[in-house]
Symmetry: C2
Subunit: 493 residues, 2 copies
């Protein structure tokens, strides 16, 4: 299992900037309060917007995994390119899984070439498509990816598009979809052979289009919000297409769900982490939360976390209607890289952060192929230059670990609260655990802040203004409001 | 020229969360104070750690550009792979230039293939190497890149390594260098044919190694700190190797330098921006600074900015020795993508941010190839589904612009201060302007905060602790301190 070490969030380590360990006393009032939340969460699981908690359970598990596996198996070797069209919760999970569980050079490995350095078990890229998750309408980016795909596969015979949109009305995904539908048409391709849609199983604009065009569809289940959907077909389909062990992801989710259902807070990492983060935020002003993996493959997990954390907890009103401007600002960083960019600020700037360090145990690197001759990348002997001789014969994993520990130490010396999550191994099971851990921390934090962690009311106004600016009928008053509010001024250089 | 619009930082627009426009009165005390700083900066330019201001001027300009151009021209077509080894200021600028000025699919385009979608003028990838900037010691990442390069070029005949380290003692870069030196040796390659080093021209460990091994070297000039070095050979060499117009970068720097030397604050974007950001930080609690380009290619410019802003201004003590914990936390975001991830928080969470929106003018997209049939990517007509019909026949650039303007409007409605920087065109000249603008904003902000913007004292402790943990002689007491401070506790789940 993942390990959480929270010693550096306590006052023993970081003085007045940490929390007194008394608060965690299992017989204390706080622990009883947290236990009550655990009971509450188990009474609401699977209901309303908490259906995400059951994605790894039957019957949803089989309902999702079976058709995905059938599709993947019956289409093995048929596609060289998989282009995912989605944004926000319909993209960040896909990107995170790909980045965590496939090598950084995945797309560079030619289909058919030997796949050295690949971490997808026995699968080879010869049977796996390149993947592009195009989560923006930047025309140079979207157009550049399409041009690349068209150069590699001019007839689009070997290209699959995975459109992800519950409603079909998200402007970005709708626009992308309209472009690729036309591209396929222009090349005489049948859309139903080249589009897989993840969408509402029963209603909505995309559902209507899918029925009309005969696309193969997978459900975005009711009661599973975008930012909680990575372990539904939204995230699982593209992962499975690229050789990722989706059963492993769900197994990991199940394991972490169990651990995070424990009433004893001292044995429940989600409850403990949520309690400490909320308390340090509210009583010590630590409102910025940095996630800093010491592992490139985990870096984009932080983008997935950023949405979960920001959109769930960033709320103007609490459940009583009081204005609270709740929330914490998630920030991503990468070790060791950001030691040479952000750590100066993290140690000497405003003490307004909690740093979440994430690492892969030194043993864990050994099961990740990717090294040169050795999975750990040995630093050779023989250069024999005094100032850097101490590096000779060590492994890069050892250096990475020393840097992480040294940074942790330096942060404590500056009284900057931090915690560490350790992966024993970087595989689907542990990534599933990590995802579920943070979803559970979010659920707890929402209760502690007494806000609705499942809505996103502030996103509406921008959508309506976009409709107005794009000339959609019925939104003229929004266009007018934008023009009045942002009328030209002289404050321009 | 780039355009700065700061109207949304003023109280006219965002109420008590903005600054009153009176503060900007050209006859006022504040403007006089800022003008005095401008005079001060012009008296210190080119001296001490402000030599970066002269990188675009003679004699440094020619001293740098001439040998780079000679090398690039005499080695054209000789390399398929360029691997840059560096970290922090020796990597972030390289990555930013590459990402801003070459297409996202640059590395995927096979040498020899037609280079559709490429933005490097008449150059084709047939003469340009793939680029990998490996700014971490993650063994799976570093090893994965090396394995990929070795698979493509088993004898390393067509691979060039660019090692960037002023001292040669940065542990990460030293370790990487030791690995590639051995790889070249094992394949019987002459290091001097395959390594270009950017390092101190006169002294230090890397200088000593370069002299011994006969490497071609380019200077990291004295008085130019890592985070201010992108327009020196540190950033220019790899850019030039990949077809980027380095003279254009320096021309843009020169243009922006001139504008940012104007004593009249209302005509000087660096002075105005620094003043507003520092004032909003100090008097209104806006201590988090988000940089949010609406353009994928500009996204990694934000990583370069993050180092500049965090490491320069994040300081415990001011110049009088008083403890101030100065600094602002830089955060990167991407439009429209992060509208579906962060904007909920930015509108409804704590009002502790200033958002810097960066955009490419709608006309500017037209000169960026990358579209499908049309540089702007047209959204086709003919789907004819009511809810998304308003998108038909529009361009993706128009949608991107509408989303940006809608978000700006929504932020103002929530009284969240923000500004917009507009690129008329995304090319080397304007990227050079952008870099120099932010370097000048940083120099001004350092003076306004009365801190040393050019040191990074807090990075030392972690380095020493790393030496201790890695067993370097003379650092035993640091090892002991780490072990004592981070002794195991029971606060683990």
């Amino acid at each position: 299992m993942l390990k959480l070490d929270y010693a550096n969030m306590l006052s023993d380590r970081v003085g007045e900037h940490g929390l007194d360990a008394d608060h965690l006393d299992p017989r204390g009032e706080e622990a009883a309060g947290v236990a009550a939340l655990t009971r509450k969460l188990s009474s609401t699981r699977g209901k309303g917007w908490e259906r995400w908690r059951d994605l790894h359970r039957e019957p949803m598990r089989s309902e999702h995994v079976r058709p995905i596996k059938q599709y993947v198996e019956s289409h093995r070797g048929k596609f060289d390119n998989l282009v995912v069209l989605g944004i926000g919760g319909s993209a960040l999970g896909n990107i995170a899984l790909q980045s965590a569980l496939n090598p950084a050079t995945y797309n560079l490995i030619e289909p058919g070439a030997a796949s050295k350095g690949q971490r997808t078990g026995s699968a080879t890229r010869s049977a796996l498509p390149r993947i592009f998750v195009v989560d923006n309408v930047d025309p140079a980016y979207f157009g550049g990816v399409l041009n690349y795909v068209l150069a590699a596969d001019p007839t689009l015979e070997r290209t699959l598009f995975n459109v992800i949109s519950k409603s079909g009305e998200t402007a970005e995904t709708a626009a992308q979809f309209m472009v690729i539908r036309e591209l396929l048409k222009a090349r005489g391709r049948k859309g139903s052979d080249h589009v897989v849609a993840c969408t509402d199983p029963a209603k909505g604009t995309m559902r209507q289009i899918c029925n009309q065009e005969g696309y193969f569809t997978l459900p975005v289940p009711d009661g599973v919000g975008g930012r909680f959907s990575v372990l539904s077909p939204v995230g699982l389909f593209s992962a499975a297409m690229c050789g990722i062990d989706i059963e492993g992801l769900l197994d990991g989710a199940s394991q972490m769900d169990e651990v995070c259902s424990r009433e004893d807070m001292s044995k429940n990492p989600a409850a403990t982490l949520a309690y400490l983060l909320v308390e340090l935020g509210q009583s010590k002003g630590k409102v910025n939360h940095v996630m800093m993996p010491y592992c490139n493959a985990m870096y984009l997990l932080a983008d997935w976390y950023r949405q979960l954390w920001a959109e769930s907890l960033g709320k103007k009103s609490d459940l009583t209607g009081e204005t609270v401007y709740a929330g914490f600002t998630p920030i991503k960083a990468l070790g060791t890289t950001d030691q040479h960019s952000q750590v100066q600020l993290y140690r000497e700037g405003p003490n307004d952060k909690v740093l979440g360090l994430v690492e892969l145990a030194e043993e864990g690197w050994k099961s990740m192929p990717g090294g040169v001759g050795d999975a750990n990348v040995q630093i050779p002997t023989g250069l024999n230059v005094e100032a850097i001789r101490y590096l000779e014969g060590k492994s890069m994993a050892a250096l990475l670990h020393a840097e992480k520990r040294a940074t942790e130490y330096a942060l404590v010396e500056s009284q900057r609260p931090n915690f560490t999550i350790t992966f024993p191994k970087l595989d689907a099971v542990h990534v599933g655990q990590f995802i579920t851990l943070w979803e559970m921390v979010t659920a707890y934090a929402g209760l502690m802040l007494n806000i609705d962690a499942y809505d996103q009311p502030a996103v509406e106004l921008g959508k309506q203004a976009t409709f107005g600016l794009m000339g959609r009928a019925g939104y003229e008053k929004h266009l007018k409001a934008v023009e009045q509010t942002l009328a030209a001024t002289g404050y321009v250089i």
